[in-house]
Assembly symmetry: C2
Homo-oligomer: 332 residues x 2
Amino acid sequence: MNNMKDRVTIYEVAVASGVSLATVSRVINNNSNVTEKTRKKVEETIARLGYKPSRLAQALATNKTTNIGIVIPSANYVYIANMLNGMTDEAKLRGYQLTLFVTNKSKEDALQVVEKVITSHVDGAIIFDDELDNEDINKLASYKIPLVVINNQVKGDRLASINFDYEKKIKEVIQQYFKKGSKKMYFLHLHHSGRLLERIEKSFIDAHIKAGKNYGVFSIEDSYRQTYADFMEIFKSTKSGYFLAYRDSLAAAVINAAIDSGLRVPQDVEVLSIIGTKYVSIIRPQLSSLHLDLKEVGSTSVTMLAGLLTDEQKEKNLEFESTFVKRASTLF
Amino acid sequence: MNNMKDRVTIYEVAVASGVSLATVSRVINNNSNVTEKTRKKVEETIARLGYKPSRLAQALATNKTTNIGIVIPSANYVYIANMLNGMTDEAKLRGYQLTLFVTNKSKEDALQVVEKVITSHVDGAIIFDDELDNEDINKLASYKIPLVVINNQVKGDRLASINFDYEKKIKEVIQQYFKKGSKKMYFLHLHHSGRLLERIEKSFIDAHIKAGKNYGVFSIEDSYRQTYADFMEIFKSTKSGYFLAYRDSLAAAVINAAIDSGLRVPQDVEVLSIIGTKYVSIIRPQLSSLHLDLKEVGSTSVTMLAGLLTDEQKEKNLEFESTFVKRASTLF
DNA sequence: ATTTATAATGAAAGTGTTTTCATTATCGGA
DNA sequence: TCCGATAATGAAAACACTTTCATTATAAAT
């Protein structure tokens, strides 16, 4: 039964059921202009021969692949995995396939990715990658590829964007803290930082300048191990502070280093993780964070792209609101 | 400059450079049978017109898509994200694109996925999903799709597999523990468990039976929150034990529940995470685990598949060795 | 200069579909 | 029973390439 079978083509189905290619194509695509009788007949031979239409040939003929490209810096971040999760769910629901394009945080790779996306004939793409700048995005757009861009305000035909309100929220959190708290705040700047992080940092600095407060910035590497080591050093001299970290693994590095240095969290050291994943409640003390449903961001991005693809929606900008969730790593 | 351009086809390039389609095709594909002069000429007009070959048409003509399918239960697990990371790197190196197929741990979806993989015309696929059984795999194989299957011993033409030695290692860890330790061991069985986990459980039970030792099994849900809640209950009566958890988030649930119940880790409660990710060292106390370089598993799977695709390699089975890493959550 | 071997090129068929347009069949109404 | 309208069907072109095979150009050798 399970012998190797060569792929059955529409032609063989046509011959076997005594109709033309056109008719078989019609029954495959549920075109109504087919008699019930011939439809039955064709469907029967399709089942008998085990025919499956070639999506490749369909794509070439219709200029639609039902593939959407996902551009990300890496699959390895938990928050990106969360988004991917939402994307795969929604894509499955809508009958799209996801093709991954990763830039590895390298500009060179990013350029390559742009080329690949163009030649791949995806129906559209979702971009969550700071390595792609406006020029890259315009290039993709110029090839008429509908785009949903996350974390970059873009405008144009068949271009939608999703943005997070982290900048605003960080400012609010800081201003709240100024009222009740007294520790000096430090921002953890990543060596290889992207636009979003830079905007957040700017927001952090602005809030301090406006309030006439003193602040600090530490530039760290995007690695738990290294950040932990760095802070074991830092905590030899710095005995208190409120630290803003981009991701929970980095926040955890600060917490663990503080505790291992004999400091108390949150009494001496307070830590806020900006992007919180499920680990915020696993790490002890539990991490205060800005909560954003990244899975929903993922599924929404697919929904928006689907809108662009079906022309229901020409352009749209959406802002996702994050909420500050106080847990045990901060006092307020 | 950045006007909308319609896709340039090979035909236009041919006309514009005064040669035939065949010649253009030859320069695209670096075929040696082209004069340097014509090559230059064609390359120049390719650059000028901004021509990019359609991978779709190429795929149809050559019956090669340079796409490989990745079948996983979900993109949301950290250990799968690690693997994906290795896959994307290696795939980029070798010029393959990755298309994601997720089963969501549902048999129904798995059947759908099998169909989609077949009609998607991927050059091959990597399967890391217990939801696909031998029948599904044989079906894919019968469509001549080269396969690398992770965690399922399979045999056949253009079928390779990668397996982990968790069963053996767990047995060793247990036997070692019998020599020095004294706590009763408990296995954390997942409600929706897969083949791998079941094999590990069997290994766990076998080791106990062989040694004439008593053991326990708790059936839990695959969720940190629920497992934490469950163990807050369990630790009301059970005041000590050695717990084997599948993933580090589950192990963390046990640890946190133990500590929050006033028990000491590892003095009262010992915990071993089978699949450890980077969180093993973030969680406190740090988690003892079986270490396996999942990123390397990912890249190796792509390498093996590439071998099958180029016919360098007809069949292969590989076993990855894990190593027991003692950290602070166990005594030995 | 002529022949041969070889390299470069082009014409055309093939890849597996969809879709347009023309043709044929079917049905209802007079 | 015949006509007209409409529904069902098929032929063929289109999609954007690759590849085989035949043909022409080029270089080497005599």
